[in-house]
């Protein structure tokens, strides 16, 4: 505890970089996975291809990817960009499948009703399909968020700053307290992210907060 209190600035700074490396890939993966999943939905053959490429990418070991990427991207070995790109690849690989499940979870009757009202296909996708797939989509997103937070620590092996630094540093100095701070910090971060995602989901799905046949609650 004393060590922790003495090193609060470092803990906070590392938490900040950790967060950036975990959240940016999450946002990017949503932007990339949604169109891919819709493509997969519309074209079964393409869908099978996208899903198998996704599974394949996910089998690449993270450390290997972190090491290879600078060569491919032309970035420096210590750049955040390597971690961001690598985690985005993993996140997209997982999220395409959850997004596909999410889009498939939308009631076909509702889709048909929207079409019959006169929505154009893309209009309908944005206004109906996407909002209604939020609950299933967020289930996938929460898993990926936790997995991202933990994968970011691997970057510490290359010297990229994150809470993982406390693992490597603590191990080298044979100082368990530091390792413990790293673990607890990572766990707290993962839980905080999860809470944020749950709150965001509630915000995006006001209709699910209503109980059948009760007066609509006034939005807080």
């Amino acid at each position: 505890m004393e060590w922790f209190l003495a090193n609060v600035p470092q803990v906070l700074s590392l938490t900040g970089s950790h967060l950036v490396q975990a959240v940016v890939p999450l946002v990017l993966s949503v932007i990339i996975a949604i169109p891919l999943a819709q493509l997969a939905r519309l074209n079964k053959g393409l869908g099978a291809f996208i899903l198998s490429v996704g599974s394949l990418l996910y089998t690449i070991p993270s450390l290997a990817l972190f090491v290879i990427l600078p060569g491919i991207l032309g970035t420096k070995i210590l750049d955040f960009a390597n971690i961001v790109v690598a985690l985005t690849i993993y996140a997209v690989a997982l999220l395409v499948r959850s997004t596909l499940d999410a889009l498939n979870s939308v009631d076909d009757g509702v889709r048909q009703a929207a079409t019959a009202m006169g929505y154009k296909p893309f209009q309908r996708f944005l206004a109906v399909d996407l909002p209604l797939s939020v609950p299933v989509l967020f289930a996938g997103l929460r898993v990926i968020s936790v997995s991202n937070i933990s994968l970011v620590t691997v970057g510490a092996l290359l010297g990229i700053p994150s809470l993982g630094f406390f693992f490597t540093d603590g191990l080298q100095r044979n100082f368990p307290t530091e390792i413990l701070v790293g673990i607890v910090g990572t766990l707290v971060l993962a839980m905080l992210m999860d809470v944020v995602l749950v709150l965001l989901q509630r915000l995006l799905t006001p209709w699910l907060r209503t109980r059948p046949t009760t007066t609509a609650e006034v939005a807080a």
């Binding site: 509702v110 009703a113 079409t115 209503t210 046949t213 007066t215």
Partner: protein, 387 residues
């Protein structure tokens, strides 16, 4: 109720409010040699030729898989025909962009098909907003429509899952009417609600239609619903063949073939009575007693009434209890079907006739209802008195 037109002028041109070449009574929607076949299967619709009258309710009725829903959905291009043409107001629908065509028609489907993530208000304004009607104007129109379909505007803030099935269907109808389209397509809209609510919704639709005079195409598998709602009924047989297309009375009275006769069902003679007014049935004074009097032990059946002369139930001859529940009531202005049912369903064999206030007007007797039916049959075949 007058429903003002608020659809933007750009879109009213899609489907003219009345056929370009005639008045009400001429065909608004026409099917010409329409075929719909799916790969490796029987054609869903073989060769459909049908004219649907403007300003009337036309019902497509038939067993499952007869192509009635497919035919309906070809009108707004939810399904594209394999060959043949469909015209609405004289325009071939295949020449109109599908989204614009659909916005120019109301569509009500089974289980309402409301968007679960939108409030009732936002559901009703859907088509208006798609047509770029300003939000404030669209909401004002929606509030008016909720009132038209018998919902309070306070419901506007609720989500569909907070409504009963019947309320959801009402919202579905309000949504379909929002842009004041000349054509309303209704795909088994009332089949998922319980019979009591269904009867209410059917009466509401008839009431609305008296004011609005839309061209309504209504799909159902329920022959009772078809004969109740339809100005004209098309009975579909398998393969989208229209076995008979006529006024409901005619379908019940004179089915063209065995298929129609069997589809119309065993009770068609009884159902047909719905089309004859029960005014010719003699109404006798009711043997009514009030329970307050403590009077009982009449010689025959006694009809217990409350202080307001409304029927409570029957007392068997010579008894003061138990009070037996009464049969169906024969209201002033009801059909012969209601009169006969009132008599047959009453424990005493006497059907209770009530006035508009629900007060006992008298009783009717089954044999006399049958006599009135005979009289109606005679007048039916006398051209001078035919309706």
């Amino acid at each position: 109720m007058v429903v003002p037109d608020v659809s933007p002028s750009a879109d009213t041109s899609t489907v003219p409010a009345s056929p370009s070449h005639g008045q009400a009574g001429t065909a608004m929607i026409e099917f010409h040699n329409v075929v719909k076949s799916y790969q490796g299967g029987q054609p869903a619709v073989e060769n459909l030729n049908l004219g649907i009258d403007a300003g009337k309710i036309t019902v497509f009725v038939g067993p499952s898989g007869c192509g009635k829903t497919t035919s309906l959905r070809m009108i707004n291009r939810m399904v594209e025909p394999t060959s043949g043409t469909i015209t609405v107001g004289g325009r071939n629908v295949s020449t109109i962009a599908a989204p614009a065509l659909r916005r120019s028609m109301g569509y009500v489907m089974q289980s309402a098909g409301l968007l679960p993530h939108r409030t009732v208000m936002d559901n009703v304004t859907t088509v208006l907003r798609l047509n770029r009607v300003p939000r404030v104007k669209a909401r004002a129109r929606a509030a008016e429509l909720l009132d038209t379909v018998g919902l309070s505007s306070a419901m506007g803030k609720r989500y569909p899952n907070q409504l009963s099935g019947g309320q959801q269907q009402r919202v579905g109808v309000a949504r379909a009417l929002a842009a004041d389209p000349p054509v309303l397509l209704m795909d088994e809209p009332f089949s998922a609600v319980d019979p009591v609510v269904r009867a209410e919704l059917q009466q509401e639709l008839l009431r609305l239609q008296r004011d609005l005079a839309k061209t309504i195409v209504f799909v159902t598998h329920d022959i009772d619903e078809a004969t109740l709602l339809g100005d004209k009924v098309a009975v579909f047989a398998t393969g989208g063949r229209v076995a008979q297309y006529a006024a409901p009375e005619e379908i019940l009275r004179a089915p063209v073939d065995d298929f129609v006769a069997s589809f119309v069902g065993r009770d068609r003679g009884f159902r047909h009575l719905s089309f004859h007014a029960g005014t010719g049935v003699p109404v006798h004074p009711a043997p009514s007693v009030t329970l307050d009097d403590g009077v009982t032990t009449a010689a025959g059946w006694a009809l217990a009434v409350d202080a307001g002369n409304r029927p409570l139930g029957w007392l068997a001859p010579g008894s003061s209890e138990p009070l037996l529940p009464g049969g169906s009531l024969f209201h002033a202005g009801d059909s012969l079907r209601n009169a006969l049912d009132a008599a047959l369903s009453s424990p005493s064999g006497l059907g209770v006739a009530v006035d508009d206030g629900g007060r006992v007007a008298g009783v009717v007797k089954a044999p006399e209802v049958l006599a009135a039916i005979d009289a109606a049959r005679v007048s039916q075949h006398n051209p001078e008195t035919q309706r």
